[in-house]
């Protein structure tokens, strides 16, 4: 099986995120990590090839510094990586991100399965996987917490989490799935893995390599634009309810006034 895992480098979950002068996320002044959800995607892929044999390639679009996230994925056990890096990509929206990733996947060609996280912890749109599958014209099964593949029959069967429970979905390969948290337990890279990662191939591609023009991507190509932003207001002091026998009722009134109940 040939599996491609999409991984994104994101600011550390705990870091305070700021916008820079171009109203895009300042990715330079913070610690960056491999998007945690993508670790579940990668772990799933690694377990699949352990069971069915094959290769795992990680695919990432991001600035130079994303090599760190790619290296981590390689030290966990991926076989190789494709890194799309180009100054023109800065400020790309989800639609553009999916376009670029789709071009790279078309270039790879003979993949059986694409696995992504179901959400990147920075922009959190959760739409990249669906847009990507749509562009590639392959079946998409998003928000998956369990999956079985049958490489011989070229099918997969997955549990797809919904608001009320889960759906059992079957799809033909090649297909795209997006992984939810707790799907598995991502492994830690071993020291051997870290050393081995340095020798694994990382192919760097520019947008020209993918046949894209600069104005089709980045801020200029994006379908959405950030016009304005404001800091989150500081937390207000809150309301203190004195319990004089009517505490319960006062709480319910409060919750009802906020439409929580």
């Amino acid at each position: 099986m040939k599996i491609v895992v999409c991984v994104k480098q994101v600011p550390d979950t705990w870091a305070e995120k700021k916008l820079d002068a171009s109203k895009t996320l300042d990715r330079v002044s913070v610690d960056n990590i491999l998007n945690e959800m993508d670790e579940f995607a990668l772990e799933e892929a690694l377990q699949m090839i352990a069971a069915h044999s094959g290769t795992v390639t990680v695919l990432s679009m991001g600035p130079d510094s994303a090599t760190e996230a790619i290296r981590k994925a390689l030290s966990m056990g991926a076989d190789g990586a494709i890194h799309i890096v180009d100054d023109a990509l800065k400020g790309s929206c989800a639609a553009v991100t999916s376009l670029v990733l789709a071009k790279a996947l078309e270039r790879i060609g003979d993949y059986d399965l694409v696995i992504s996280g179901s959400e990147a912890s920075d922009a959190r749109t959760s739409v990249v996987p669906a847009m990507l599958a749509e562009r590639l014209g392959i079946p998409q099964v998003t928000f998956v917490n369990k999956v079985e593949v049958d490489p011989a029959a070229k099918t997969l069967k997955a549990n797809r989490i919904t608001d009320d429970g889960y759906q059992v979905v079957e799809a033909s390969l090649p297909a795209m799935i997006s992984a939810v948290e707790k799907m598995n337990e991502p492994r830690y890279p071993s020291f051997k893995g870290i050393m081995a990662a340095k020798k694994k191939p990382v192919e760097t591609l520019s947008i020209a390599d993918l046949g894209l023009e600069a104005d089709a991507v980045g801020l200029s190509g994006s379908w959405t634009k950030v016009n304005d932003s404001a800091d989150r207001p500081p937390r207000s002091a809150g309301t203190i309810v004195e319990d004089e026998g009517n505490g319960g009722a006062a709480l319910v009134d409060f919750l009802a006034s906020k439409k929580f109940v």
């Binding site: 290296r71 030290s75 492994r187 830690y188 890279p189 071993s190 020291f191 051997k192 870290i194 050393m195 340095k198």
Partner: protein, 394 residues
């Protein structure tokens, strides 16, 4: 000249720190309360990360990494919990290293794969109830005898004290030093003999109740006519003590790394608590009397770290045995004494909370003292350093 670790070492540090903070830290308090000894779960986690096999050769499933890599791992585990740090240190330094260094191919093939993978633990028993610093006073003896079926066997009689990783459910073998005769000059001939768990006559007595290191496995051992094959002799006959001393250098550097982890933890906790805790309407970190103690803490951490990693670097780059020995004793002495002071400072910064078991500081305080005792006391290090300087200390 460079004072930084390599990129690989730093990448690995991140992984071990992440593991220690996520997989170990949240469980320590519960393990101390519920398990009260070495949790197999914790060993399994460290094993999965490949920590027990870091320095072992790839032939036996190891990563073939250098001592610096092991020090990084021990420091990061030790920053979260000292018991688990010493478990790793002893498993590698006392369990695996003597077998890997002095074992025959058969011995290595038999014991190393499981030890390297962390599926089993090995101990090394030198200390006896009446012989610690003075290991020449060893009384445990081993006599070569032929049994009824004509096989030559060592018959071991005696007792060992304070032996780490010696009585755990994962323990597979404990190597012991024993008198196997008398040298021409009248001193005892000491040899190292591997006694597998389950050998009749070999008993790991119930674990000690210790001041600290509650999650580490420490037992008194007794040998009452315990018989093992002649081939269980580890290394050359009569070289048991000398061999042990040779493997101790790495161990001392590793203990220094464990101490660095503890001092670093004290510094990290002290800084954040001093910013957060208010007294007289201000964070306590605003008071010079307190801030200066924390400033001194960082000085101690930095100095300990440099001495420790310099010693590891000397070892890894093939410096002379004499240089490595001196650097190892200097690092062990300084870093462990600094760590004991560091826990005292951190407890002071935390005030009353520092004395309560609900904060890690109290555990650190309990755990620190033994660093100045195990694998050569501070006094022994000073003797060795003096001798290294050519002083005629007895």
């Amino acid at each position: 000249m460079s004072f930084s670790l390599s990129e690989d070492h730093e990448a690995f540090r991140k992984v071990v720190r992440d593991f220690a903070e996520k997989a170990l830290q949240p469980n320590i308090e519960r393990w101390e309360r519920e398990v009260g000894g070495l949790p197999t779960e914790a060993v399994n986690g460290m094993a999965e990360l490949g920590l027990f096999g870091l320095t072992a050769s790839e032939e036996y499933g190891g990563a073939g990494a250098d001592l610096t890599t092991l020090c990084v791992a021990i420091e990061e585990i030790g920053r979260v919990d000292q018991s688990l740090g010493i478990t790793l240190e002893a498993a590698v330094g006392l369990g695996i290293n003597p077998i890997a260094t002095y074992g025959t191919d058969e011995q290595k093939a038999q014991w190393l794969p499981d030890l390297v993978a962390g599926r089993a633990l090995a101990g090394f028993g030198l200390t006896e109830p009446e012989a610690g610093s003075d290991a020449g006073g060893t009384r445990t003896k081993a006599v070569l005898q032929t049994n009824a079926s004509g096989e030559a066997q060592w018959v071991v009689d005696g007792a060992k004290a304070f032996i780490t990783n010696s009585g755990h459910e994962l323990t597979s073998v404990v190597t012991v030093t024993a008198r196997t005769g008398t040298n021409e000059n009248g001193t005892p001939e000491l040899s190292a003999i591997m006694v597998p768990t389950g050998t009749p006559g070999f008993v790991a007595e119930p674990a000690y109740r210790k001041l600290g290191w509650h999650l580490s496995d420490t037992h008194p051992l007794s040998y009452d006519g315990a018989r093992v094959p002649e081939a269980n002799l580890l290394g050359a006959r009569g070289r048991g003590f000398a061999q042990f001393l040779n493997t101790l250098d790495d161990g001392r550097i590793a203990i220094a790394a464990l101490a660095v982890g503890l001092s670093q933890a004290c510094l990290d906790h002290s800084v954040s608590y001093a910013l957060e805790r208010k007294a007289f309407g201000q964070p306590i970190g605003k008071k010079q009397g307190l801030a200066f103690q924390i400033a001194d803490l960082q000085v101690a951490v930095e100095a300990s770290r440099l001495l420790t990693y310099k010693a590891a670097w000397l070892k890894d780059t093939g410096a002379s045995v004499k240089q490595v020995k001196q650097a190892a004793s200097i690092a062990k002495l300084y870093a462990t004494e600094a760590a004991v002071s560091a826990t005292r400072t951190a407890t002071q910064v935390y005030g009353g909370y520092g004395f309560m078991e609900e904060y890690p500081i109290a555990r650190f305080y309990r755990d620190a003292k033994v660093l100045e005792i195990g694998e050569g006391t501070s006094e022994v290090q000073r003797i060795l350093i003096s001798r290294g300087l050519g002083l005629p200390v007895e």
